[in-house]
């Protein structure tokens, strides 16, 4: 299993460690609910070093990036970040990524841990004929996310970054904990305000310890992958392998806003245009599920007693205290309030009485959760 520079920090904090996409990672330090609520009310620190960080530079690098991503790189201002997907030729999603523009100097692509190798090979395949310099910075640098309303106060205590002028989905470089040139972005995967820091791998353990130490008085604590998943699901953010896969098109997943069909040709554009013309068959929706049971990935979604869709992700949402799920359902029945059902077969007897096997699942708007004050 692959390890991040923070492995020993997690172990000494007593984290429950698991294999996540081939990485030895902390799933919880205490429990999902406590860590989830901490991020929503104070702030949590996440080790996201397992994600891939690829740096593009050279004469044609913007052209190459724009060939492989669905969003537009050429129209980005220096210091701006955009969410995008990378599609295959059939319009399926190979990964979702964050694209950081350093103007003409370069572009940073942050990719999912589980897709590092797939995307690297994809880039190697597509770069032919372009004058570019591509560096895999993933192992030389570590990445720590601080997420939650207290993140801004924590960052103010430890850095010279002007957090008032650093807007959402922007990045800058600053001195953090005495280390110059730390890349600080106002991004995250939780639905809260927060920052992600990229620092040299050798500094990661010191950063982790000092951030926890300084953050203690603000209520900051470590947060594992368990709550990362419940937080992102409440915030309606897709996870590759669940809401988005290499056979799902971004239009089906409701990611139209990240696909610039007005852009010059890019991989997946023709397939997406064809799908748009033909009309969507399935579309992603959010569901509120009655009861306490959690629908799992692949479970069928019923309408009028017939299976018509499939669950992507489900959880007991800790902040909402409600079972929520995402699912692909027929595109012509996605209106808020539409009634579906999911089935739970009891192994005991509690839920197998007639009429108690099918649980109501009602379409609700995505995201399930929006932080206060955010439009």
């Amino acid at each position: 299993m692959r390890e991040t520079p923070l492995k020993n920090e997690h172990i000494s904090l007593g984290a429950r460690m698991v294999d996540f996409a081939g990485w030895y990672m902390p799933v919880t330090y205490t429990n999902i609910k406590e860590e989830h609520l901490r991020v929503r009310t104070k702030a949590g620190l996440f080790d996201v070093s397992h994600m891939g960080r690829y740096w593009f530079a050279g004469r044609d690098h913007i052209k190459l990036v724009d060939k492989i991503i669905s969003n537009s790189r050429a129209t980005m201002a220096p210091g701006q970040i955009r969410y995008s997907v990378i599609m295959n030729g059939q319009g399926g999603i190979l990964d979702d990524v964050l694209v950081y523009s350093a103007g003409d100097d370069g572009t940073l692509l942050v990719v999912n841990a589980g897709n590092r190798d797939v995307i690297w090979k994809w880039i190697e395949r597509e770069r032919k004929g372009f004058v570019v310099d591509i560096t895999d910075m993933s192992n030389d640098y570590a990445m720590i996310a601080m997420q939650g309303p207290e993140s801004v106060n924590l960052l103010n205590k430890v850095s010279d970054v002007d957090t008032r002028s650093l807007k959402y989905y922007r990045f800058t470089r600053g001195t953090v904990l005495g280390e110059p040139q730390v890349l600080v972005s106002r991004t995250g995967y939780t639905g809260e305000d927060g920052f992600e820091l990229i620092m040299p791998a050798g500094q990661a353990a010191r950063f982790w310890r000092e951030l926890l130490n300084v953050g203690k008085s603000l209520g900051v604590g470590p947060a594992g992958l368990g709550c990362r998943d419940t937080l992102r699901l409440e915030a309606g953010m897709p996870l590759h392998g669940h809401e988005i896969t290499d056979t799902i098109n971004p239009l089906e997943a409701g990611l139209d806003w990240a696909v610039r069909l007005d852009k010059e040709d890019f991989i997946g554009k023709q397939a997406t245009l064809a799908l748009q013309k033909e009309g969507l068959k399935m579309k992603l929706v959010g569901l509120h599920v009655e009861g306490k049971r959690i629908p799992r990935q692949g479970q069928e979604v019923y309408r009028d007693g017939k299976p018509v869709g499939r669950i992507c992700s489900g959880t007991m949402a800790p902040w909402l205290d409600q079972v929520i799920a995402t699912a692909f359902v027929p595109a012509n029945a996605t209106t808020v309030g539409t009634l579906y059902h999911v089935e739970f077969k009891g192994k005991g007897t509690k839920k197998v009485e007639p009429g108690e096997v099918m649980f109501k699942a009602i379409v609700v708007p995505l995201p399930f959760y929006k932080r206060p004050g955010k439009k």
Binding site: R16, V27, T28, N31, I32, K33, G226, T230, K292, R293, I294, R296, T315, M316, G346, K347, G348, T349, K350, K351
Partner: protein, 131 residues
């Protein structure tokens, strides 16, 4: 938590204890509770239901996963822990081998339990799984 010697363990982390009145109390181990961590739901049989050794008698669910509950004995359910059954997991978290029991079974054959693991064998299994 010190695990008791007077219960027998299954590899799937359930335990069974033969009582003086001949019934068998069934629960899950502290290790199982710890692994499941964020418990959300449990589905237990009712009094009078039959359970079968080596087969699921219910399910326990956490935020991350659903697990079958496997019975160490065959027989008839004579009592169910109502606290746990109503999805109150506090007793289970505090005292998995005591107040957190799940069901009580009148076994067809009390010797069923003999094939389950001793505490030493169960702890050896946990040590092996940790690697």
């Amino acid at each position: 938590m010190a695990r008791p010697d007077n219960v027998r363990y299954l590899a799937t982390h359930e335990w069974g204890r033969l009582e003086k009145d001949g019934t068998v109390v069934v629960g899950i181990t502290d290790f199982a509770v710890e692994q499941l961590n964020d418990l959300t739901f449990v589905d237990l049989p009712e009094k009078g239901d039959k359970v079968t050794r080596g087969e699921a008698f219910g399910e326990i669910e956490s935020v991350k996963a659903v697990s079958d509950l496997i019975s160490p004995v065959s027989g008839k359910v004579v009592a169910v822990n109502d606290t746990v059954s109503s999805d109150d997991f506090s007793a289970l978290k505090k005292d998995a081998f005591g107040a957190g029991w799940l069901i009580k079974v009148k076994p067809d054959n009390p010797k069923d339990l003999d094939s389950a693991k001793s505490k030493a064998d169960y702890e050896k299994q946990l040590a092996e799984e940790a690697h």
